[in-house]
Symmetry: C2
Subunit: 156 residues, 2 copies
Amino acid sequence: MRAGDRSTELAFVNAGLLRFFYQTTDGKEFNKSFVAENQFTAAYSAFLTDMPARFSIQALEECHLLICDLHMVVNLFDRHGCWERLGRILAEQLFIKKEAREAEFLLDDAETRYRNFQKQYPGLEGRVAQYHVASYLGITPVALSRIRKKLKTDFP
Amino acid sequence: MRAGDRSTELAFVNAGLLRFFYQTTDGKEFNKSFVAENQFTAAYSAFLTDMPARFSIQALEECHLLICDLHMVVNLFDRHGCWERLGRILAEQLFIKKEAREAEFLLDDAETRYRNFQKQYPGLEGRVAQYHVASYLGITPVALSRIRKKLKTDFP
DNA sequence: TCAGCTCATTAAACTAGGTTAATTATTCTC
DNA sequence: GAGAATAATTAACCTAGTTTAATGAGCTGA
């Protein structure tokens, strides 16, 4: 999926790894998030607001996705309260994650964000290129390399 | 409310203005958000995860709040699907807002974030001290003052 | 009216991170 | 194994934003 598209798909990642990224007008990319196996994902806010998505999605590994249409899910919401509840809880989870990321950007410098990333997504660092991690942290690959060097000498 | 408290209150701001802020270990404060009249608010993610809140709340103006307990609201969720739906939609709105703020921090520099703030919260700038705006943007009052000076000379 | 606040501005020195570019690993291909 | 990509590191210089401190501009209250 590309930024500007209108997607109404909900996907369950059965295997593989996706990255979600924004692009600036001058071509730079910033990773919004990674989604790996056993996670649900969608351009949900774009769907809810009936707007084109602001971000693009790229498969970083060979993926196996189970896909359905979000309209179907919304129909389920109408059908029975248990689906509505599922929808609520999923939205709440999304909110909690994004709020935590907001706090990180407000409070933490790049080094702290990097260490958070390692704790929060164990194993992911080995699966993606370093410049993708940097982009997720909101810094350049050069800056991340510097931070890693510093951490190595600080805690060898 | 103070960071570390467990609040289970939901408030409707009838009049006045609140600010929500994080504090770093060395005493610095960062405004997470402002909530003005006719808005609902709560330490919702803390309530959902059954954790103490990470942020504090301060009234910036004389406020009139209508308060109820979130447990009551959750009971309503069980009572009838229409409440569950309301809960879902509110959670979705929260998510959409936080996702937008994530995008800002990833993509925009301080000047752009300031201009966004002005557009997005018209009238608010006149109601709060400038250093509160700076804190919301994630910069120091000094930096904001410089940005304002630059904007004045650029577009007099 | 003046002293005592708090807030905004300005300046100067500093720092984290950006930019550019060169260098070194890695991996892939043939 | 040689060449050719692609990634990561390093270095040198640059910039946006921080820190500290001084100054000015409103308020407020006795």
